[in-house]
Amino acid sequence: MSLSYDSITVGQTLPPLKLPPVSRTTLALYCGASGDHNPIHVDIDFARKARMPDVFAHGMLSMAWLGRLLTGWVPQKQLRQFSVRFTGITYVGNVITCTGKVVDKFERNGERLVKVEVQSANQYGDVKILGDALIAF
């Protein structure tokens, strides 16, 4: 499944990535595996003291899912840059879908690059993350 630069068109979409609903187990596993032990993501008592209604997903878990969207499309070694802005909180029970779209193709320093815009949104269409990536071909 090797994609070529010439076969890619601006406006083309990436195969979407739909995740299972976010559970407390998802958050506990990510806490341990990521090394981000901020209790606000796993300890409801701490979350409530911080005036949040419940624990919520690590932003970086959602960014990791967007990373899967990208590396499921092209081999990771082609990834040059990956940037996101966190626009909303992902809660327990949210069903996240990651989507992406090619928005530009250009050459820089002798390298052919494709710019992709990515986003993560829940089952209600609330956007949680907006970002972009540069992929070399």
């Binding site: 995740l19 901020n38 606000i40 970086m60 899967r68 040059r80 840059q81 990956f82």
Partner: protein, 147 residues
């Protein structure tokens, strides 16, 4: 409040090894099913020296220190009040299991919005490997809610 005098503050470098077992655990935690990220034979067949480091794992590896939030107090960040604002990675060279990476970070900007109700801290990190090669740059924006 985050004191703006900390703009330019550099942190002592953090060094951490990229471990295979940890990468497999991370792959499980994010639901990654591509065998390249968990099976070394598949990774080698795909041209990697060992299991490749997934795109966002640099953020995790930098937290491999006794208390990754120790510096929060020094600059005026409070864990219950923070949210992740932005995150960016620029990749120069791949990293694989067995590599030892060094993270050199500094605060490049501190600003606020809504009359201090929201404060922003921008940190940039240069990542090098055991051969001294510059493999990546990381940019992190943390938001503190004071309202």
């Amino acid at each position: 409040m985050i004191d703006k005098k900390h703009i330019g503050k550099a942190f002592p470098p953090v060094t951490a090894e990229l471990e295979k077992g940890r990468l497999r655990f991370f792959a499980k935690a994010i639901g990654e099913t591509d065998p390249v990220y968990s099976d070394e034979a598949a990774a080698k067949a795909a041209g990697y020296r060992s299991l490749p480091m997934p795109p966002t794992f640099l953020f995790c590896l930098e937290m491999e220190q006794p208390d990754p939030y120790a510096w929060f107090g020094e600059v005026g960040l409070e864990l219950p009040k923070i949210l992740h604002g932005e995150q960016s990675f620029t990749y120069h060279l791949p990293a694989c299991a067995g590599d030892v990476l060094t993270f050199s970070s500094r605060i490049v900007d501190i600003y606020d919005k809504k009359k201090g109700a929201l404060e922003f801290m921008v940190k940039e990190t240069r990542v090098t490997n055991q051969n001294g090669e510059h493999i990546a740059d990381v940019r992190n924006v943390i938001v503190q809610r004071n309202a």
